[in-house]
């Protein structure tokens, strides 16, 4: 792989940028690999990258039924954070934040990491109390968190509704200064290029249609490009997890739901941080292109459609306008949907399965993007060593049997109530 640098940029400028190398190859599938990763989204690409780089397992292929960057890794709202309350989540996601901070150097690819801060707004005394508790929990785990009052918030986002007749007045908020955003496409492309450079075969438009399991041990898969053998297989297919699990006669604590997001027309710099509305479910940041990137609730019924309905967008933007009245005069440029693998306690699953050589990575709910590096790292560890990493040890599949749930928001199993 030729390194990207200012020198390569200058050199290629002389040939009108016509002679750049391809970022990753388009190889034919081999008959057999040591490890197959099913799903070429962020998590699958990162897993393959760390398998090759950290665990020196290079005979790896990624099977992607669509194209790189076409799934949830290209459909999210790009937010990075580790502002959780439970230790398991705090430690896991904070390790991820450390990986994000030098990811561009590690991948030699600019992922436009921007630790601009994330503010969760509070709209009542009770909410301030709960945010204080969560902030303390974060600080006990070594994560920076700052409690802001109404006047502090007013200095940061003066255009929010601070009027006296506001339905949900802003009482304050919890700031994680290291939270922020990264460019989602660049994360996918960077990991794909990095994995390919380490010898990983990225097989696009290669859909898995069945599994070969003999005596409780995985042997390989049937795909749209023929049969491929493998010693170990990792599932990283997010919203499609239940569909592949069904082929393995596995039932999982997962429901697939559609989550929509939207962007406005681009405007000049207005919002420096990521801001979430605390009296409903609405979050907002401004992209480098100037678009306001916004999201909120699930549509609220099982779905594999990758598109949602207007009432949810309307509902989310009503909250947006309640928070930022100046949004009301802006046009929405586009909306889209992605399929979330909603787990029954709102936390992910990274684990081995009862089938030898089959590993499971799913249940990311709406929080998968920020977890890409740490999920890839811990899943690679789980596959390479055949045992869970200490960071993903709490995210076992059997917690639904033993009762060690990680229910961050106390929502229980009604995943559609968000």
């Amino acid at each position: 792989m030729k390194k990207y640098s200012v020198f390569s940029l200058v050199k290629n400028a002389f040939s009108n940028h016509q002679n750049w190398d391809v970022a990753w190859r388009d190889p034919e599938p081999k008959k057999e690999y040591e490890v197959l990763i099913i799903g070429g989204g962020g998590h699958g690409l990162a897993t393959a990258f760390y398998l090759a780089k950290n665990y020196n397992i290079r005979n790896v292929a990624i099977l992607e039924k669509g194209w790189i960057g076409g799934g949830n890794v290209g459909r999210n709202t790009t937010i990075l954070r580790s502002n959780y309350m439970h230790d398991a989540n705090n430690l896991f996601y904070e390790h991820g934040m450390k990986l994000w901070s030098d990811l561009s150097q590690e991948l030699n690819y600019n992922v436009m990491y921007s630790p601009r801060g994330i503010i969760n707004l509070a709209h009542s005394d009770a909410q301030m109390n709960s945010f204080t508790r969560r902030g303390n929990s974060m600080r006990l785990n070594g994560i920076d968190a700052t409690l802001l009052g109404r006047e502090d918030i007013k200095k940061i986002i003066p255009f929010a509704d601070f009027s006296s007749n506001c339905r949900f007045p802003i009482f304050g908020g919890l700031l994680q200064p290291t939270g922020g955003t990264a460019r989602h496409d660049a994360v996918a492309w960077g990991y794909a290029r990095g994995a390919d450079d380490h010898g990983v075969d990225i097989l696009q438009h290669c859909e898995v249609t069945g599994f070969d399991v003999v005596n409780g041990k995985i042997q390989g898969v049937q795909t749209s490009k023929g049969n491929i053998k493998a010693k170990k297989i990792g599932l990283c297919v997010a919203g499609s997890t239940s569909l592949l699990a069904e082929k393995l006669n596995m039932n999982l604590p997962i429901e697939s739901h559609v989550l929509q997001a939207c962007v406005s027309e681009p405007i000049k710099p207005l919002l420096d941080q990521v801001v979430t509305f605390g009296a409903g479910h609405f979050y907002c940041s401004q992209s480098d292109k100037g678009e306001m990137v916004m999201g909120g609730d699930l549509d609220g019924y099982n779905s594999y459609a990758q598109r949602g309905n207007l009432p949810t967008i309307q509902h989310v933007l009503t909250e947006g306008v309640a928070l930022f009245p100046n949004l009301s005069r802006m046009k929405i440029l586009r909306t889209w949907g992605g399929i979330m693998d909603m787990s029954m306690d709102g936390s992910p699953i990274i684990d081995k399965t009862h089938i030898e050589g089959l590993y499971l990575n799913c249940g990311w709910c709406y929080g998968g993007f920020k977890a890409i590096p740490v999920s890839g790292l811990t899943f690679a560890h789980t596959i390479a060593k055949d045992e869970v990493h200490e960071l993903n040890a709490p995210f076992r599949l059997d917690r639904f049997h033993t009762g060690h749930l990680i229910d961050e928001k106390g929502l229980g199993t009604k995943t559609w109530i968000s």
Binding site: N251, P253, N302, Y304, A305, P311, M344
Partner: protein
């Protein structure tokens, strides 16, 4: 916008309804011995099909009746709705 046919009120807008989840999940009989596995299946495990899904809906801003619906999770097409006590061939 989905239009959902409430078995009691007819076709109404999606805004009037609340979702109630998978209608095929059955609570284990309490007057018999229930294994951990049966409880796990009831509380946490879902078929989560792509395609035809039998599910509960609540006409919460209308007649407030619960009912069942066959809906396609891939296309969002609502195939048929049923009263709760109706026998449904699957």
């Amino acid at each position: 916008m989905l239009e959902i046919r409430c078995p009691y009120c007819g076709k109404r807008s999606q805004n009037e309804f609340a979702y109630g989840g998978d209608a095929t999940v059955k609570r284990p009989e309490l007057n018999s011995e229930v294994s951990d596995q049966e409880w796990d299946d009831f509380v946490y495990y879902r078929k989560n099909p792509r395609g035809n899904h039998l599910e509960l809906w609540h006409h919460i801003s209308g007649c407030r009746q619960w009912f069942k619906a066959h809906r396609n999770t891939a296309t969002h097409e609502i195939i048929q709705t049923y009263e709760l006590n109706q026998n449904i061939e699957t």
